[in-house]
């Protein structure tokens, strides 16, 4: 019994399940990988460059902030990487590099570190950055491109892609396209019926295969779903939030579409387009900014889904998941306050249960 360690008093328990934060982060990243690679393939080199810039900006900002705060460096716990990753996936794939860089700085500095770093932030950092960018630079943030897979004719090469990302080469007009939700919103505002509008835009728009215009990582809905199921299977996330978000979008869509298909998109279109799947499995489930208890998570998930549908259907923006997530992030402390587990031996209100002396059967 030599050495020092066994003499350092350590508190019980003297055993551990072996879980750690880094492993959780790595699993989320693994789950995101298929959809991310699909996005890279679909949108080509500019998307890769944007991704690298965004993630790099997040890591640099994290390192800088940790240095500024004089705290121990936790750069490699994977959390800043994940924030950058999620932010990049939510950006238009050919967005200029400065959008990604600025977004990274906003996400980490304003979204996370000012609150005190990992675990302290009230809002999802990636969504804070996305919404800040969307509100400040609406043009750059809604400039979508048609899928131009790597290796296809007209797809930019590595250097050309770099020029596009750095803004030294204009994005050719032929490439720009509208996302389905944006298209539907524009047409509706022009008084054109949805059935007509979608028909004109091509029926395949809502297809689940993901070859469509949209954010960098949101189009591969099936791959995102696959990743989400992996996270569920691994116990990284629980079903409550994703199922409720999806249901919250789908249920009102089913009802409204049945009543007025000319004005309301179908549930399938809602689920397959935009960032609902990405949001449901990867963004709304962020531990730090979501409620803890199962009941709280049900409430939170339904709320996000519903609000997303409301914003998409009646709001000024074609997509609403980022706003919905932020709003319910703000409500999380309130939800946590009211949704608490029942304590053993107490009623839900916290009073000791009444002793019942009687048969043991």
């Amino acid at each position: 019994m030599s050495g020092r360690d066994q003499f350092m008093p350590a508190p019980a328990p003297h055993a551990h399940a072996g879980t750690d934060v880094g492993r959780t982060m790595r699993r989320v990243q693994l789950a995101l990988l298929p959809a991310t690679l699909f996005g890279f393939w679909l949108f080509g080199w500019p998307a890769v460059h944007l991704f690298v810039i965004t993630v790099g900006a997040c890591l640099l900002t994290e390192a800088f902030c940790q240095r500024l705060r004089g705290c121990e460096s936790r750069l490699w716990d994977g959390s800043a990487l994940l924030t950058g990753w999620l932010l990049a996936l939510s950006l238009p794939p050919w967005a200029p590099g400065w959008i990604g860089a600025l977004g990274g700085v906003i996400a980490i500095a304003i979204g996370k570190q000012v609150y005190g770093g990992l675990g302290q932030n009230l809002f999802n950092p990636a969504m804070v950055a996305r919404v800040a960018l969307l509100v400040s630079f609406p043009v750059a943030m809604t400039h979508w491109v048609a899928p131009l897979p790597l290796g296809s004719a007209g797809a930019p090469g590595f250097m050309e892609g770099l020029h596009i990302t750095l803004g030294t080469l204009p994005v050719p007009d032929a490439v720009t396209s509208a996302s389905l939700l944006g298209h539907a919103k524009t047409e509706l505002s022009r008084g054109i019926d949805l059935a007509q509008a979608l028909d004109a835009a091509g029926g395949a728009l809502a297809a689940w295969h993901g070859v469509r215009a949209g954010s960098l990582g949101e189009t591969g809905a099936l791959l995102l779903l696959l990743g989400g199921l992996y996270l569920l299977a691994r116990g990284v996330i629980r079903w409550h939030i994703p199922v409720c978000v999806l249901a919250g979008v789908a249920l009102p869509a089913v009802v409204a579409h049945a009543i007025d298909p000319g004005h309301y998109l179908s549930a399938t279109t809602h689920l397959a387009s935009g960032a609902v799947v990405l949001g449901a499995f990867f963004i709304a489930t962020d531990y730090v900014t979501s409620p803890n208890t199962a009941s709280g998570q049900l409430l939170y998930g339904i709320g996000i889904g519903l609000l997303t549908w409301i914003i998409r259907s009646w709001g000024g923006y074609p997509e609403g998941i980022a706003f919905a997530v932020l709003l319910f992030n703000a409500l999380t402390p309130v939800i946590d306050r009211y949704c608490r587990p029942r304590i053993l031996g107490r009623t839900r209100r916290g009073a000791p249960i009444r002793a019942t002396q009687g048969s043991a059967e």
Partner: protein, 515 residues
Amino acid sequence: MGILDRFLRTARFSGGVHPDDHKRPAADAPLRVMPPPARLYVPLVQHIGSPARAVVAVGDHVRKGQRIGEPQGAVSAAIHAPTSGRVIAIGDIVAPHPSGLPVRGITIESDGRDEWCELEACDDPFALDPAEIGRRVARAGVVGLGGAAFPSAVKLSGGLGARVELLIINASECEPFLSCDDRLMRDRAAEAVDGIAIMLHATGAREARIGIEDNKPEAIAVMRAAVAGHARIRVEVIPTRYPMGSEKHLILVLTGREVPAEGRPSDIGVVVHNVGTAVAVRNAVRFGRPLVSRLVTVNGACVREPGNVEVPIGTLAGEVLAFCGGLRVDHGGPARLLLGGPMTGMQVPTLEVPVIKGTGGILVLDAAEVGEGDGGPCIRCGDCMRACPVGLLPLEIAARVRVGEVDKAAGFGLADCIACGCCAYVCPSRIPLVQYFHHAKGELAARTRGTQRNETIRTLTRAKAERLEREERDKAEALARRAAASLAAAAAAKQSAPVTEKVAEDANEESGVCA
């Protein structure tokens, strides 16, 4: 009773964890009995309650089982000599506690004869009055052997003042690494069941249920065979899940009923005793044998011959380890020395600490078993909440404790925490949650004590002020009366002198009483 019926009857508690149990091969190794070492260090407090008072002097010769410590107060336990020999010191010995601070104890040098003192046996314990059983158990210094070491007699014979309907025998042994109860049941099932029958008689309960986790099939089989003749004793197989052995959780699983918070099992007519305690009660009542030894699991990757050992109370942990072949030095060496199980046991700073009545295990774990790793900030993953078997929000409590808001922590149900360690076991950030809670509980207790003290001071001050005021008033009244009396006397003096004297005397007497 069909399978479905059984399934429906099985109550569950939410939370809990499934750590690797590490019970084998130690549990399968035959039980060994350790002879008394040359010196025994017997602390005077080995139980919950007030310490015992030494009733021997240095130089006295004692025999095995002789009482050397007298219980003091309502909740206390007697201490007996674990072997025959000479008392060589009464003073400080290293406490089996993480602090390693001294505790008062009696050191006995063995004479090697291990001679019992005269014991009061009883052929038919069932003819004894339940209160008499309680007295005999108290005399034998029996405490709960599950770890809490609460004096058993208090719980046995209606000491809690409530009628007991059901006696639950805790044989779940949910702590990883420990197997002393398992071994005890396998080797001494008949004794255990006899003890349980005596306890049934003492408590007046209608029936007894023995809860055994399903990871101990051998013990279940042996115990089932042993209870075959007893209509009122039943073996219940319960799922393996930590903390199944927690009193309130075991009751919930076995009866489907919850013990009210802030209450005791007796509130719902239940009393829980450990299976090892049953054997100790039997030995105490049938043979008058006090509790001078216990089964201890010696386990951990660093122990050369892990297994269960019957150890005389007061034997140093180092000597028990030596009896088990000493420590292995390969694979990195020992990382942690523990008394008790890994979930709730305590780390001790040295091997020079004695085994006491509540010591169920001596564990020497290596780094892999301890699972050390780097910590970090809370990411609110909620694993602790899902692991908590009581339904608390450890992350919220810890967040409050961290910033010193102990009152708010209490508002989250801190007082209901059973310190089982499930939350810290699963925490990916390795936050020492249990430590936080202990700290906050201590703070709250200190505050309550402070409030009580202030309250007492205020009451006393008020009483003093009232007393002074009363004295003032009485003095004033006495003076007034005297003045009136002297006036009256002066008036009366003109008429008759003897009467005046009498009145003055009365006045004096009165003022004398009041002053």
